[in-house]
């Protein structure tokens, strides 16, 4: 496939204004972003700096102008039509009347079948992903019977079942406790190693961003724009042990400095800039 070499996401000079009284609110002013094929990039920034707005523009969920959004060489809506996007939001957004397995099968029902190159039908493909995120015992359970972490696992499986080329994640683990977060981070890393989709990962946790990413973009508020870019040169595949490396603390320190937060030397805080 020749398109594989096209960058997963290119954002140039993006401006977005939310309508409202007094001229509305300028959420993004000249946001720039380039995500190479297969790359894992995180965006950190204070709450309200426009991270979600940027991600939603990348998913074709909001129209922006001026500026351009290019997804895998085409427009965002072309990417939606080609079924190459996967989305995970902070709210899992599961359908409460569907079982875990049926929720995971939803993208395949919308795209009309299991991804190319897989054996079996929609049900088999969905079951495989449910198993992959460790929920086989809950395949027939309904969302209201699951914990928050399990629901987010279902959302992750649902976002990956149709083998998207670009995975967009908006603070996916933000509402979870520390332990579930780490567990899901590792889960995500192993799924990513396997599927090699490009990932744009929005988070407010600096440590999470460093642990996962090839590159961390630091965003600043009012109006939203990039202030720093930190390549993360830690070996892969990564485990939680990566956090012990001296360079890990240095990355965290640098990102925190870029955010303009008081730079304490304790690398053990969760790194919430808010």
């Amino acid at each position: 496939m020749p398109v594989t070499t096209a960058p997963a996401l290119v954002v140039r000079g993006l401006v977005h204004r939310y309508e409202g009284e007094a001229g509305g609110l300028l959420a993004l002013d000249g946001a720039e972003l380039r995500l190479a094929a297969g790359e894992f990039v995180s965006i950190v920034g204070p709450s309200g700096c426009g991270k979600s707005t940027l991600l939603r523009a990348g998913a074709g969920l909001i129209a922006t102008s001026p500026g351009t959004v290019e997804v895998l060489g085409g427009t965002a809506s072309q990417a939606c039509a080609a079924h190459v996007l996967g989305l995970v939001s902070q709210d899992p957004g599961l359908l409460p009347w569907r079982t875990v397995e049926a929720n995971v099968a939803l993208p395949l029902e919308l795209t009309g079948g299991p991804p190319r190159g897989t054996l079996g039908g929609i049900a088999e493909a969905a079951r495989a992903l449910v198993q992959r995120v460790g929920l086989e015992r809950f395949a027939a359970a309904y969302p209201h019977q699951l914990s928050g972490g399990m629901r987010q696992r279902v959302a992750l499986a649902r976002a990956l079942v149709h083998r998207p080329r670009l995975l967009l994640m908006d603070e996916p683990f933000g509402a979870l406790d520390e332990l579930s977060r780490e567990e899901l981070c590792l889960e995500l890393l192993s799924l990513w190693e396997q599927q090699r989709a490009s990932v744009l990962f929005v988070t407010h946790s600096i440590r999470e961003a460093v642990l996962l990413s090839d590159r961390v973009l630091v965003m600043s508020a009012s109006p939203g724009h990039m202030v720093d870019e930190v390549p993360i040169d830690l070996p892969r595949p990564r485990t939680l042990a990566a956090q012990e490396a001296p360079s890990f603390a240095a990355y965290v320190h640098r990102i925190r400095a870029a955010l303009g937060a008081p730079s304490t030397s304790t690398a053990h805080s969760t790194g919430d800039p808010a």
Binding site: R56, A59, G60, L61, S77, C80, A81, H83, L85, G86, L87, S89, Q90, D91, P92, G93, L94, L95, P96, W97, L106, P107, E109, L110, T111, Y142, P143, H144, R158, A159, H162, L168
Partner: protein
């Protein structure tokens, strides 16, 4: 199994016991104070009025039930279809909402005679009155319900290029069900009222006619018997609805209560 029986005892016994005590007290009060039967008949007299001609009540109940249920389906169905259109278009909602409000504020007793003039003495005018009275609750609830979609789920479907029909079928329709059931719970007693009021105007059958005749004869026991039949109809329909709701809305938080 035994815990289920225990639940029935816990939930079902108190109201049954309360009703039993009330009936006994009523019977005693009528007997002791010698209340004239045309004012307040004893419960035993009401039972006797019913058992004297149960077929008459059954036939009347069937007539009223057909009118009420037909009206409920007609009114709620039309309202739901309109709600689908209104939920998809704000301009359409703004255009039609005042008209719907007009339907709501018009008293049924005022339109019932009109319907009888227009549509004669058959089942149809009574169904229409019942339909009219159930229209508004369904319209308002269904519009709200069809719009009550989880934004995260909607976003997800949009990134997969879901068609409006797919969004409707997979997201809006199931999301609206709790609201649809809320409307039906309001509408079940209303549709019975609508049918009976229409029967008073036309007076050619149904429980409404039984009430009219009993009233004319000062046969208060028969009148009470008719009221009990009406109440039983409403209770039966409500129970049926609750059963259906438990089946269909097991995923909804309202079914966690009780």
């Amino acid at each position: 199994m035994s815990s289920r029986a225990a639940r029935w005892v816990r939930v079902g016994l108190p109201p049954v016991l309360a009703a039993f005590i009330a009936i006994v007290a009523w019977e005693a009060w009528v007997a002791v104070r010698e209340v004239p039967a045309y004012l307040v008949p004893a419960p035993s007299a009401i039972v006797r009025a019913f058992t004297a001609d149960p077929a008459r009540y059954a036939l009347a109940a069937r007539t009223s039930m057909v009118e009420a249920l037909g009206g409920l389906l007609l009114g709620s169905g039309a309202a739901f279809v309109l709600a689908v259109a209104m939920a998809h278009s704000r301009p359409l909602e703004r255009a039609l909402y005042p008209l719907a409000l007009l339907v709501k504020v018009t008293p049924v007793v005022a339109v019932a005679p009109l319907f009888i003039i227009w549509f004669g003495f058959g089942t149809l005018p009574k169904m229409l009155v019942a339909a009219l009275i159930t229209f508004f609750p369904m319209l308002v609830n269904a519009v709200t319900g069809l719009r009550s979609v989880d934004p995260a789920a909607h976003d997800f479907m949009r990134t997969l290029h879901a068609t409006p029909l797919q969004v409707f079928r997979m997201l809006r329709l199931p999301a609206s069900l709790p609201y649809v059931f809320a409307a039906l719970r309001i509408s079940v007693p209303l549709c019975i009222i609508g049918a009976v009021v229409a029967e008073w105007m036309a007076g050619d059958g149904g429980i409404g006619q039984v009430i009219l005749i009993a009233n004319g004869d000062l046969d208060t026991a028969a009148l009470f018997a008719a009221v009990v039949v009406l109440a039983s109809m409403a209770i039966g329909l409500t129970a049926l609805l609750a059963l259906l709701e438990r089946r269909l809305l097991f995923w909804h938080e309202s079914s966690e209560r009780v």
